[in-house]
């Protein structure tokens, strides 16, 4: 009985390994630097990973259906630039139209949706390979961002536009008399992940996504219109990218031609560490959130641990390898004890859990 309980606890821990990493890294960095585990810093980690998080949500949706969306980093930059151009004054790099910020937000979200629609239509209707389609889109959109700006950043955006990304929801006083601003983006991020989790877990559409990713033929045989599901996940991914653009532009109070550039690998890494399989049908959004947090903690933690900038990338790579190593140990332990069911439920992205049993 006792050992059974211990075993259950163990399995629970193994199931939620990503959260173990999150907690351990929090503890380790707190021990390394006393300025890490401060309310200010923790709040900041959450708000700064918000754009990344939104991209991870979109990416997770496509990955669950066994599709890539590599274009989302460019979609984020492009939508942010479109909105910024429409909203900012000429002096600040905009077109001088100075439209109403809400119109700007609507347009930017619509552009995101359009990009997703475009990807989706090409992939589902014209039979393009999803990887290449989105790589091409990545180039087209980044190029378009450079072209419309042209090359210039745009800043000083309207307050209402900035609020979600950079605004404070409320302020709480700290012991040292300073006020801690609780950023709206932090709540939005958590809210977005909850919504995304709810969508994937509690809507028919969400379950259809898993079905399509797990086995497209079987899903189609069950009357699920796989092409429609895939079209929709790309639309959602485009929408999330636009939201990420909104958060980023708000936080930075500007849109730059390079906004979002180079985020795609961190996005995929966060999703995969969080248990979303690159091969579809596995993983959940809560795990992906853990992946995002871990990435954010490493990012900040390494700076705070005063690792030299020259060494930061090295350390990040090494830590990532270490996390995967622990995961591999887990898998091999499970293999030895042959707890096959746990393994197949395990939240770190295995290609084929059964194969790992061999």
């Amino acid at each position: 009985m006792e050992s059974n309980r211990a075993n259950r606890v163990f399995i629970f821990v193994v199931d939620n390994l990503i959260w173990v990493f999150v907690v351990v890294s929090l503890i380790v960095f707190s021990l390394i630097s006393k300025s890490f585990f401060t309310p200010f810093n923790l709040v900041n980690i959450l708000s700064r990973v918000a754009p990344l998080g939104l991209l991870v949500i979109g990416q997770s949706f496509t990955l669950i259906t066994a599709n890539f969306d590599l274009s989302s980093e460019s979609a984020m930059g492009f939508t942010a630039m479109v909105a910024a151009l429409l909203l900012a004054s000429q002096k600040n790099g905009g077109l001088g139209l100075e439209w109403n910020p809400f119109v700007g937000i609507l347009i930017m979200l619509a552009v995101g949706v359009l990009i997703g629609l475009f990807n989706g239509v090409f992939i589902t209707r014209l039979g393009m390979n999803n990887f290449i389609m989105t790589v091409a889109m990545l180039m087209v959109l980044r190029g378009a961002t450079y072209a419309i700006s042209p090359g210039k950043s745009v800043n000083f955006l309207p307050e209402a536009f900035k609020w979600l990304g950079g605004g404070a929801l409320f302020r709480v006083p700290l012991e040292n008399g300073k006020m801690l601003a609780i950023p709206a983006s932090m709540f939005f991020l958590i809210f977005a992940f909850l919504v995304a989790f709810a969508v994937t877990k509690y809507t028919r559409f969400g379950r259809n996504m898993y079905a399509v990713g797990a086995n497209r033929q079987a899903a189609e045989a069950a009357g699920i219109d796989a092409r429609r599901v895939i079209l929709w996940v790309y639309i959602i991914s485009g929408f999330c990218a636009a939201l990420a653009g909104l958060l980023d532009a708000g936080r930075m109070d500007s849109a730059t031609p390079r906004t979002g550039a180079g985020l795609i690998f961190p996005v995929q890494a966060a999703a995969v560490i969080g248990g979303i399989s690159l091969f579809g049908g596995r993983g959940n959004l809560i795990g992906a959130f853990g992946g995002v947090l871990l990435w954010g903690i490493l990012d900040t933690g390494l700076n705070i641990a005063k690792v030299s900038p020259f060494w930061i990338e090295v350390s990040r790579g090494a830590l990532l390898l270490f996390a995967m190593f622990i995961d591999a140990l887990k898998v091999s332990y499970l293999r030895r004890t042959a707890i096959r069911k746990v393994l197949s439920a395990s939240p770190i992205g295995l290609k084929d859990p059964i194969q790992q049993l061999e």
Partner: protein, 513 residues
């Protein structure tokens, strides 16, 4: 058969050609409601193609199709589903990473007032639906955690839930043990009572007699006829399928005295214990047992696919130390796996490559590259020797019929010139004619001095081929039957397989429990 039932399906004059093959020519098929309709024929006779046309996967070149009175001149997969036709392939492919409940209700999950998926209701409904069909599965379990029968039954159940009236079962028993087959048949019969019709494709003719009402026979893409099963017998059916009487298989090889494979006290906890066995040169030994008896584990372990545990193994008088398949092959032991799609063949590669995977090192020219000339001649020789029917050695192997695929696996193993060949369910999914071919191949190999160990749940097959049959129960070898001895009867063997003891002379029905 109950002719009072309405006609569900009527296919008339169906023809279909593939590049280079006339797969079907002018074939008719009529199925009534509540009927289990057998569909038999040699490998490549066109059974799967006919069904693919019915399912809208292939388009027929000519012919008509009527389902429940609706006429179709062409069919899409979607229309087929709408019309109530469901296909359960041999390799059931479901949404592995999702739970049983979700697989059942996919695309139509119950929602609450807010439009959100109601998981409690989902599990409950799935449970109830399964219960109504008399199927008890844990609906919370992921499908990848289920066994093969459970998956097949689940697939049938799923089809019914989407209002299928006619379910096509394509070789559903190929990977099942007898116990599981009984479970499946029980399930199918109970559904038949509810008015569901089945088309049942199988190479196990006894099964056709066991479960089918009528049977349609195809030969080389042409219709031979449709017969009421109770008016047929096996030899007749075989004659219809093959077009001639097939000479019964007779052993010609004979066992020699030198032991090739010697296993002493092999033990792996939880799988098998204290296994002792000897296979001699030219001898064919059968090994049978229930699922979980350890027979299959033993085969895989010998080949190095699984851990082996402790104990001694000798091959040709030398200690057998292989830790992986490569070493096993090098030390003279070859293994034919049960699941040929997953372990036997690389489906997307040509026949030529599949045949030579095991012996590439022998085909190298002085430059260390593969000599295509040597390879082609060798492959051609095996294709001729084993009678593999394929348009060319460059054909992708998964486009061949089942029997020919199995021959390719044989060719691959025979090419290594093994001393001992372990065969695991070698005739699964293979037609009667090809089975005989396989037996001949086995016999031929034995007469060349290869020791052969066949692990199979088909007792009749073992009786026809083996010199000796060993039975495993609960991880131990519990009985040995020698060919030609009076105790060596199917009944006795089945009894021991199920754990009984023939010397206790208990009168019990050995075939079914």
């Amino acid at each position: 058969m109950d002719t009072s039932q309405p006609v569900i399906l009527e296919m008339k004059g169906i023809s279909k050609a593939f590049p280079g093959v006339q797969a079907l020519e002018n074939v008719d098929l009529v199925v009534y409601g509540g009927e289990i309709h057998g569909l038999v024929g040699k490998n490549g006779a066109g059974k799967s193609t006919l069904m693919a046309i019915l399912m809208g996967i292939h388009q027929m070149d000519s012919g008509t199709l009527e389902i429940n009175g609706h006429r179709f001149t062409s069919m899409t997969p979607h229309e087929a589903l709408e019309a109530g036709i469901a296909y359960v392939p041999q390799q059931v492919r479901m949404m592995d990473s999702l739970t049983v409940a979700e697989n059942i209700l996919a695309g139509n999950l119950p929602v609450n007032r807010l439009g959100l998926v109601d998981w409690k209701a989902t599990y409950q409904e799935a449970q109830e639906r399964l219960h109504k069909l008399g199927l008890e599965l844990d609906v919370h379990e992921r499908v990848e955690g289920l066994g093969v029968v459970e998956q097949t039954m689940l697939a049938i159940a799923k089809a019914l839930f989407s209002n299928a009236k006619l379910i096509i079962l394509d070789e559903p028993t190929a990977a099942l043990s007898r116990v599981d087959i009984d479970r499946l048949f029980g399930f199918v019969r109970s559904l038949k009572k509810m008015g569901v019709a089945f088309i049942y494709i199988s190479h196990h003719l006894e099964e056709v007699f066991e479960i089918c009402d009528r049977v349609t026979v195809l030969r080389n893409g042409q219709l031979v006829g449709t017969y009421v099963v109770s008016e047929l017998d096996i030899p007749k059916l075989i004659r219809f399928m093959v077009g001639e009487d097939i000479r019964d298989y007779e052993r010609s090889s004979s066992k020699q005295d030198d032991p090739v494979l010697v296993v002493k006290g092999l033990t792996r906890r939880g799988h098998y214990e204290e296994v002792n066995l000897v296979v001699h040169k030219g001898e064919v030994v059968g090994l049978s047992g229930l699922a979980g008896s350890g027979a299959a584990s033993l085969g895989r372990a010998l080949f190095g696919l699984e851990r082996r545990g402790i104990g001694e193994i000798w091959v040709n008088g030398k200690p057998f130390t292989a830790r992986d398949p490569r070493q096993a092959l090098d030390q003279g032991l070859a293994y034919l796996p049960q699941d040929r799609y997953r372990f036997g063949l690389v489906g997307s590669r040509p026949v030529r490559e599949n045949v030579t995977y095991t012996i590439l090192h022998q085909l190298l020219n002085p430059a260390g590259l593969i000599s295509f000339f040597k390879e082609r001649t060798l492959v051609q020789r095996y294709i001729n020797d084993l009678g593999v029917v394929c348009p060319s050695p460059e054909q992708r192997v998964n486009l061949l019929s089942g029997g020919n695929q199995q021959k390719v696996v044989f060719a691959k193993l025979a090419a290594t010139r093994p001393s001992i060949l372990v065969l695991h369910e070698p005739t699964q999914g293979i037609d009667v004619r090809a089975k005989i071919d396989i037996y001949r191949i086995v016999d031929e190999l034995a007469s060349q001095g290869v020791a052969i160990l066949i692990i199979s749940s088909e007792v009749r097959e073992l009786l026809g081929v083996c010199d000796r049959i060993l039975v495993m129960y609960n991880g131990k070898i519990t009985a040995e039957f020698k060919a030609g001895e009076p105790v060596t009867t199917p009944e006795n063997i089945l009894l021991t397989i199920e754990g009984g003891n023939i010397y206790e002379q208990k009168q019990m029905d050995p075939v079914r429990s």
